[in-house]
Subunit: 390 residues, 2 copies
Amino acid sequence: MENIHKYSEIYKEGLLENIIPFWTKHSVDKKFGGFLSCLDRDGTVIDTDKGLWQIGRFSWVYATLYNEVEQRQEWLDLAKNGVEFLDKHGFDKDGRMFFVVDREGNPIRKRRYVFSESFAAIAYAAYFKATGEEIYAEKARFCFDTYFRYCTTPGLIAPKLTENRKTRGMGGPMIGIATAQELRKNLNDDNYTHYIDNWLEEIQRYFINEEYQAVMEVVGENGEFIDHFDGRTLNPGHAIEGAWFVMQEAICRNKDEKLIQLGTKMLDWMWEIGWDKEYGGMLYFRDIKGLPVQEYWHDMKFWWPHNETIIATLMAYELTGDKKYEEWHKKVHDWAFSHFPDKEHGEWYGYLHRDGRVSVPLKGNIWKGLFHIPRMYLMAWQICERIKNR
Amino acid sequence: MENIHKYSEIYKEGLLENIIPFWTKHSVDKKFGGFLSCLDRDGTVIDTDKGLWQIGRFSWVYATLYNEVEQRQEWLDLAKNGVEFLDKHGFDKDGRMFFVVDREGNPIRKRRYVFSESFAAIAYAAYFKATGEEIYAEKARFCFDTYFRYCTTPGLIAPKLTENRKTRGMGGPMIGIATAQELRKNLNDDNYTHYIDNWLEEIQRYFINEEYQAVMEVVGENGEFIDHFDGRTLNPGHAIEGAWFVMQEAICRNKDEKLIQLGTKMLDWMWEIGWDKEYGGMLYFRDIKGLPVQEYWHDMKFWWPHNETIIATLMAYELTGDKKYEEWHKKVHDWAFSHFPDKEHGEWYGYLHRDGRVSVPLKGNIWKGLFHIPRMYLMAWQICERIKNR
């Protein structure tokens, strides 16, 4: 692969000299603990509410840097600053987690679904790995169990729609796989492979649509195609994130050929659907039949689909050596790096218009914090190193 | 006012030769009753689900055309086609209405809030006026009572946030006023004035922010400014719609001076905040402090804020004779009419980018149907006629 040394350096340096320092400088709440993720372009806090997704994700990032890059005390302390906020303020009396709390940690919003739990699970698992404190392994298992139970028990997450339209979403099994992978690794517990097998089976059975050559986001209870706006709406960045979770599992299983085929197929299909042939970059939503999409921001360019596509194309190249993935990686890397980074204040903008103009200059909100971007820098750096050292 | 004859003709002809024929041709469901609002650019149905907001709104439009323009049998039949679908498929066993049903009328989604009820109330009231059938006056009262009870009984609409952040929204009192105005008119019942008084009082007490010179969308329980994304987010088109509901009430009360002042103040403030000085048109969301907005489509141009601003500026001109409103009306009329109408297939696009380019070519979905556009054409035509005949 051309420029592998250059790429490796870009990802390493970007992570350690730009992304991590930006958030470490601006987001740590020294008064009430946890992290403030709602930041303006220059790092000024513009909303003090704390999303629990973000607290879990920040904590996971710092603990993972400690585990996988270098045992810096600062990173361990920051991970601790996150998990202790989760301990103190993350949980309702029923064991479920909140979605948003205020700066002091008072509950503001709880949701039906369980992604706060999935991100807390990976945070606790990485923090256990970093510290060896058994209580955090237990907390990780507890959060994972909640996630698993809610995702797999029909009706436990109150459905938005009536029983006349029973649906299943790609998000549950997909995030489930990534969460189980983290727990397996950091708790050193192969029992999580069993969960991964089931979720891989669910994805293949219900969400891989051979007729349309697409990864579905929402299908009927038995995988039926739902020919309405919601059922037709594809989320290429999300599906491509799922593609690399599958490829990651192929790597964990000694380059399992079937999983490589599944993961690259998902990537191939969704690159074709999601890559914007006119302006470059990854479109947010597409209709499977090419019809108009109902969501207003369908043609915007968000940061995270680009992060996920950079990881997926690089991983596909690592696993197959196919030149096509080298080219796709270059395309998405070049587009992302020429549009998202803020050269003046550091970090990335999150929300661009289709043609790459900045829509809103903020660096963080309840959805955008320290997660997709550093995970991309870290994983892409690690993949580059593996390719270099072959 | 310059060009008043031309404007009157544009609105009349647009309503009767373009907007109404488009929907009458494409949206009537002759098989299952009701209306199909999810239409592609050329009128092709792209989703057969039926939003109850839209069924109520379509029915109101056809009945109102019958009551206020001409007693065409076709319009009465179409109104009947809507209200009978509401009768058959709109209501759950608890008396609350659904949000979406499928083509056949089977329930698909019910929501916490009660806007299906407000639109059904005005549909039934207008249909009662058209037919004199007492049962429809009763149904209108029943839906209004549900709306009123849910909007004014704390906790009856399950709050999204915890008791640590009790909020109140502008939508409830604002839609309440417009709904009560319709019932008062079409049921010929002045008792509804009492409700309007209370909601006007609520708006003045809680949502008129003199410090920022802005109409708030969401405030604390006692009108406190909530300095978070949601509390700072202004919706100029929505507030301007509220402004003309207030001015409409001034007209009903013999040009009540205080209400004229309140309505024009709301318009003045929100025009200043919402009018896009760079590209023209009404921006969707603005932050009260000029900070970044969290909603992704903040700078898009939607059809309905333009409809509401055309009505409000014209009504303000009618009530005050102030040249400023004549100029504003011309500005928003010219921008809207040069960007939204589809010259090939008729009707208006709904979703434009900030610079006026079409984002998505559909004509209707679960949110866009036969309502804001025909209401604007009809009311603007009526206002022009009143100005002409002075």
